[in-house]
């Protein structure tokens, strides 16, 4: 009798890693990769996010060097330098990094992960097979004038992009980065991007992340942020479009008086699935975290929000606030939201709140009774709902850029 051999998704990924042993990688990640299972809904952290379809595709490394026109992905009016990654490959020729004072960018730096515990298969995969390695150093005591805009573009069918980016924000530095994820065409793609940021003492670092890919895209972001004492980190995760998006955001504090602000909007429609898993680890006293995520879900879209906040025993005088609110715009949309606060210190201020509902029918009628049509009444309400998150985007050009995309999506009023 012949034995049937089933090639699993994991096997395919392992084979891909093997084929490309010369690509940069982190030694520890390669070792643990085979011991980890593909994420599945039996795992608590993946309960509502299916990864099965990712496994059915035959992913490959970029085979050709395309030259996409990136001008349409630039943010109008924004004074920024841009670093372009196409199909997972850093493209110096498309990037514009001249005269970037106070920032140095390296593409060869190795990563040491001896101490790192890989949480899941994709995280290890992203480190075991790096398609582009970027190390950004921000000089201490410098306020960076230009924004740095990292643009990830995919152009090829079934391409696996695994950029691995590390940013070291030097002591008392101040910088503002933008990261956008876009695609050209309707091809399938899987982008599994790793980002690690060290915010040094008294440094301030802001990241506006704009995700607007197409329905055939899978986007995995693994963000690990460490904020030292007196440091400040702000991230706005703006998920405008994308078939499957999972954002893992881990923030930990290393010293007192540090602050983290994490805000996000997600607006899935059709059969899109958007998942935000956040973790804020208060390990030391006197730190603040403010978290606000809002979702508008339409059609058959599904969303997940899981917000963990740990307040460790010695993290006294912690202020940790978390809020997640969702509006389901259709009867078939679904949202799974779960705040998880674990507080082991007794002198802290912590709060969390989560709501999921529909557009307020009374408010809709009120607007219509004043002459507003159904569509504009709805848009006025959806705009109002997400405006407080959009207001967190401090730069006018970036906010206007996002707003213009939302107007195109018919979610905001012009």
């Amino acid at each position: 009798m012949e034995a049937t051999v089933t090639i699993t998704a994991k096997d395919k990924f392992l084979a891909l890693v093997e084929q490309h042993e010369k690509l940069p990688h982190v030694v520890g990640a390669r070792k643990v990769l085979s011991q980890l299972d593909m994420p599945n809904t039996r795992m608590e952290d993946w309960r509502y996010t299916r990864t099965g379809k990712i496994g059915t595709e035959d992913w490959k490394m970029a085979t050709s060097k395309t030259n996409p026109d990136i001008s349409s992905f630039l943010i109008p009016g924004l004074e920024a330098k841009h670093l372009v990654i196409v199909d997972g490959q850093y493209r110096e020729d498309l990037s514009e990094l001249k005269n970037l004072v106070g920032i140095s960018i390296e593409t060869t730096t190795l990563v040491n992960d001896e101490q790192h515990q890989y949480q899941h298969f994709f995280e290890a995969l992203g480190a075991a097979l790096i398609t582009t390695r970027i190390q950004v150093d921000i000089a201490p005591h410098v306020e960076i004038k230009d924004k740095l805009h990292i643009i990830h573009v995919t152009t090829e069918h079934q391409v696996l992009s695994q950029p691995y980016i590390t940013i070291d924000a030097g002591k008392s530095s101040k910088a503002h980065f933008v990261e956008s994820f876009v695609s050209i065409g309707e091809h399938h793609a899987f982008t599994n991007r790793t980002l690690r940021i060290q915010v040094a003492e008294n440094a301030s670092f802001t990241l506006d992340k704009i995700q607007s890919e197409t329905d055939a895209h899978y986007l995995m972001n693994e963000d690990r942020i460490h904020v030292a004492g007196d440091g400040r980190f702000t991230i706005n995760t703006l998920t405008i479009d994308g078939g499957w998006v999972r954002n893992n955001l881990h923030i930990s504090f290393g010293g007192q008086n540090a602050e983290a602000n994490l805000h996000g909007i997600y607006l899935p429609r059709k059969k899109q699935h958007i998942d935000n898993h956040t973790l804020v680890d208060h390990r030391v006293p006197h730190c603040n975290s403010n978290e606000l995520y809002k979702g508008l879900l339409n059609d058959h879209a599904t969303g997940v929000f899981n917000g963990k906040v740990y307040v460790q025993p010695n993290a006294q005088k912690t202020n940790a606030f978390q809020s997640n609110a969702n509006i389901l715009l259709s009867d078939d949309a679904q949202m799974n939201t779960k705040p998880e606060l674990e507080i082991y210190a007794d002198d802290v201020k912590c709060s969390h709140g989560t709501t999921t509902g529909q557009l307020d029918e009374d408010a809709l009628f009120y607007l219509k009774a004043r002459g507003l049509g159904e569509e504009s009444a709805r848009r006025l309400l959806t705009s109002a709902f997400i405006n407080d998150v959009l207001d967190k985007v401090e730069n006018d050009n970036i906010r206007n850029y996002v707003v213009s995309q939302l107007i195109t999506r018919e979610l905001l009023i012009a």
Binding site: F365, Y366, K368, A369, G371, G373, E374, A377, L381, A384
Partner: protein, 253 residues
């Protein structure tokens, strides 16, 4: 202007209006009174186009058009205005943006050019003064954190901005102190004109001292059972509704 014939309406299968008749001519002010649960607010909601109510019979003609065929926004654009009993708070939507959108829609419907920003602000200033509404309130979110009196004044302010031909005031006096009642009433009176009609729904004669009606109707068990002039309101204030209920019972028997 408005002709209601044998109007029947129900909510969640329960019939509230049971054959209501009313005729309103341009410039007239009609007060509708009646005990709790008689159908006063249902009438206001049905006329404004709230979809929770099902019209099961009768007709409503507004300026020679079938009102019941129109969605709520169409009714508003055609000149019908409902001052809500409970104005809705809409966090995040500024009063100004909301009014700009509403005025814009109504002007568009009338075939008028949109107002310039300057003219719009001028109009806001002029009309908000009518109800002594603080300019700050105009900039805040719609009704959010407004006191009961401020909400009602905001309703009349909106009415002044939108210049309807028929305004329905649904218990606009509820929750108002004497000063607010005076301000709201003066605002309404300033808007009275030979072309503009009002339906004033109220529990209390008090409001009718300020807004003097041409006709007073008593709504009871989903029908208008008695109509008269302003003296009827005074009589109701004095005698209550029991005699009306008895009269109706006898007429039915």
């Amino acid at each position: 202007m408005l002709t209601i014939k044998n109007l029947e309406a129900s909510i969640e299968g329960k019939q509230i209006l049971k054959g209501l008749n009313l005729e309103i001519k341009p410039g007239e002010v009609h007060a509708i009174m009646g005990p709790n649960g008689s159908g006063k607010s249902t009438l206001a909601s049905v006329l404004a186009g709230r979809e929770d109510y099902e019209v099961t019979g009768g007709s409503v003609t507004f300026n020679d058009q079938d009102l019941l065929e129109m969605p709520a926004e169409e009714r508003a654009r055609e000149g019908l205005f409902l001052a809500f009993q409970y104005p809705v708070e809409i966090p995040g939507v500024s009063n100004m943006n909301f009014l700009k959108a509403a005025v814009g829609e109504i002007r568009k419907h009338k075939g008028l050019e949109p107002l310039s920003a300057k003219d719009f602000l001028k109009l806001v200033k002029e009309k908000s003064a009518l109800v002594e509404l603080d300019g700050q309130l105009a900039n805040r979110a719609v009704n959010e954190g407004f006191s009961g009196g401020e909400k009602k004044r905001n309703e009349i302010f909106q009415m002044a901005m939108l210049e309807p031909s028929l305004a329905i005031l649904d218990e606009t006096d509820s929750g108002l102190d004497i000063d607010a009642l005076r301000i709201v009433s003066e605002g309404v009176n300033a808007l009275r004109s030979p072309e503009r009609s009002f339906v004033v729904i109220t529990h209390y004669q008090r409001l009718l001292d300020y807004i003097v009606p041409d006709f007073v109707h008593v709504l009871y068990k989903g029908k208008i059972v008695k109509s008269g002039t302003k003296e009827l309101a005074l009589e109701l204030e004095e005698r209550g509704y029991d005699w009306i209920k008895e009269e109706t019972a006898q007429a039915g028997a």
